[in-house]
Symmetry: C3
Subunit: 358 residues, 3 copies
């Protein structure tokens, strides 16, 4: 952000990432930009056709795009089959993660029985409790808590204000964004005469490798066995994962969704924002759920599933939703009309016209 | 979690918890397990009939179940009227809360005017502000903040990264899970010519005894008077409680629900996940609300209330939701048809068939 | 909260805030109260007509109200055109924000390269990272993190457990409530053969002046350019703002709403609770969205928009929602019936009655 870099020759990038280059291989790019606001020294990309019109005036030093868009490009082009993937790879080279110095800051608080690898970094204000393990290259940010006997895998990052509760296991190369919580107690209560009785939650949370957990996302520990998040799963902000849930590898979930207890979600699913899963369901692999859907039954067939109504102007919406409250009556009326019309038709020796449905 | 315990004889458990025992009273159990994965030395339970088929092969040393299921049990049985409640009680004996050493950690920061009971524990990184009170046996976990003049009642637990704002009152035996916030300012603004004018929020939050507040849950302080959460109320993760809300004793609310300002909810209500209450409502005792419902009016009759549509395949859902946008038109068409049919019927001296509704 | 104040003469308040006073100008008020529970020495207000009946018995020393309500007031009246705005101004005088002593607490941790104004306050447990700037009169509460090169503007308040990530910019007089997160990485992944590839998020979050951010609210940094929140924007608790979002000045958003990436919202919009915006939309100025709406398309006309169904008793709701699953079939049946009736009508030389729609 702001630091001027000498940049990398786009000829080198083309070679490294297998792109066809049209233009000057010695042009250099130092940071990324949008097509609309790019200037000299920047790299832009085109993946969404909606932005194609910006290509003709783009002032970037190079644009990553597909072959079909190359003709319209006003500047140097890096041609690739999947521009967004290639852009992600090049952007990671241009904007590498900030490294961190190994060692424990004097203002961190680490229990003497915790094992902290000498290459790990523990920031001021972090707390590492008894018996916890922090592996090589891990980063424990300010105000983070690693609970008793929890384990943070190699090169994982706890950004800031993160809580990892006791005994939980975090895989390798995991990122936990601010205010996320791993291993809070599951919501288990038995209804006794005197009120709600807490059921001990003795399972853990186990996160696989390469998992990302968004800001404010909470994942409850299992009631008896573990809550398990597979490898490569990406969870956006403010997601709630209930106890005993299992999520398969490479599933991705957008913000504000919630998964109730004991539901199992397959691999490579795509879950949009604000989706709610009720408990004890089985969702197979490769399911897509659109935004604000209530998933209230198991799914055993890959496909796309929905339940949210689209927005309307309030006046029309009110009329329609008032009708919804009497939809069952309406359907019964239609049934009656069908019979009446059929009976009239028969008495007139004619049949209702069943053709021409729109 | 790994620690091997000698276990407790199930004859003792039967006596202590009033169960009928079928089997060997000297069998010992040390920890809990699921019916499916139980082994020797474990205790399982059967409360949900769905899991009954697991009973025949269960390898637990004992299963808590009801009389009607006892015949199918392959191992020692602890028979009780309410297996889930009895399981909860026994599990609490097998898995007691981890105790804590009394005292203030050197890396905590306590204002000299705060009153902290000598039996309370204050963890590293915790901050106790001026005039706050922490009662006997309370636990203030790492990175927790107890604001000015706030009070944490006896044996209450602030797990980690919890904020209790100034002047709030936390009852006895309360648990506040990580990243929960008690006493943030209510959302009160008056629209002035120059923009939104903040209305001071001078009330408090008062939590009764035996309240649990989930991870990431936020409870706003009252605008003038207090926001009040009754005894034994259980709030799951990521719930939002607006200012001036009152929730009656023993009501339970599942994750991701929100209650807008000044709404009053009765006792013993069951609120499912992702439910939204608009403001200034009155909800009577013993109401159940199903998941994702928008509670947009007061409720004065106990019962079950809903408003979320169930999931469907996206293609069919799109067809139906497009029709919804013209539902009012459809209803008008049906009305017209009814009249037309009646008029035809009359002119034919016949009446439409009104019998045989499905 | 208990502290007895000598109070202010209401004659002074009337003069200062341009109210007409009916009653005793020497009556004094020290704190605010509700109409229902007010006593001597308190100031109440009437803005919602629902509470008008409380006026006759109100025991406050003064009530702020409009001219039309003055006749019914049992006590001294401060008459004004907009009682809620005037109440907000007076309440702010009666309940001023608690000041803070300038200086850095010994238990805070500030990088030596951070610039902290001598009038700012840094609380115990706060962490200020390298190159960060904290301006005059700012308050950095306990457990807050101000990341590398972030800037907190004059007189802004980070209450407690707040995270401001690296390079983000916070304007003047901003309040960040507990557990809020500014500048978490946006949710950007490219689908590669080996799994989801993280796209670096190199933009910032820029908050204007006089912005309030609620407890647990998260605002993601931009992917390439910045996420921008305009002046005077008020965000309630547990709101999620995706990367690249822009929100216009003086827009207000209620709790639990979410805005997906790259959506642009205009000025002075009113967004109710639990609303979800899909990504890449443009919402014009002065739009109102009602609770739980899914905003799934751009809006170019000011007005009120909705999509949530109102609550019903569960039994009736189940019947109606079952019918919804076949709504398209129902509409086709009605279409068929229309044709059949028209054809019968024609053959009888009569036309269906199209008058008298309700």
């Amino acid at each position: 952000m702001g630091a001027t870099r000498p940049g990398i020759a786009i000829g080198e990038l083309a070679a490294q990432f297998g792109c066809e280059l049209i233009g000057d291989p010695d042009a250099r790019v130092g940071h990324v930009a949008t097509l609309a606001n790019a200037g000299p020294g920047t790299l832009a990309f085109l993946a969404n056709p909606k932005y194609r019109p910006k290509l003709a005036q783009c002032a970037a030093s190079a644009v990553v795009l597909s072959a079909e868009d190359a003709a319209g490009c006003a500047t140097n082009a890096l041609i690739t089959d999947d521009p967004y993937v290639t852009y992600a790879r090049i952007a990671t080279v241009l904007h590498p993660s900030t490294g961190h110095a190994p060692g424990i800051h004097a203002a961190a608080s680490c229990d003497p029985t915790a094992e902290i690898h000498p290459t790990a970094h523990v920031a001021p204000g972090a707390v590492i409790e008894a018996g916890a393990e922090v592996c090589e290259g891990a980063f424990i940010g300010p105000q983070c808590v690693v609970g008793r006997h929890a384990r943070v895998g190699p090169h994982s990052v706890l950004t800031a204000n993160v809580t990892v509760a006791h005994h939980c296991e975090i895989g390798a190369r995991v990122t936990l964004h601010p205010a996320s919580v791993i291993g809070s107690d599951g919501f288990g209560y038995a209804r006794a005469a005197e009120g709600w009785l807490k059921v001990p939650q003795v399972g853990r949370v186990v996160l696989g490798d390469d998992v990302d957990v968004g800001a404010g996302t909470t994942i409850d520990r299992g009631a008896v066995e573990d809550t398990v998040i597979g490898h490569g799963v990406k969870l956006d902000n403010q997601i709630q994962i209930g106890h005993n849930v299992r999520i398969g590898d490479h599933t991705i979930v957008a913000a504000c969704s919630g998964v109730s207890g004991s539901t199992v979600i397959g691999k490579r699913c795509l879950v949009a924002g604000a989706v709610g899963f009720v408990g004890h369901l089985n969702i197979c692999d490769d399911v897509t759920v659109t935004g604000q859907t209530m998933v209230n039954r198991s799914i055993d067939k890959p496909g796309v599933y929905s339940s949210a109504l689209p927005m309307d102007e309030a006046a029309r919406w009110r009329r329609n939703s008032a009708r919804f409250r009497r939809l069952d009556d309406l359907a019964r009326t239609v049934k009656r009309l069908e019979k009446a019309v059929a009976s009239i038709g028969e008495s007139a020796a004619t049949t209702p016209d069943r053709e021409g449905d729109d």
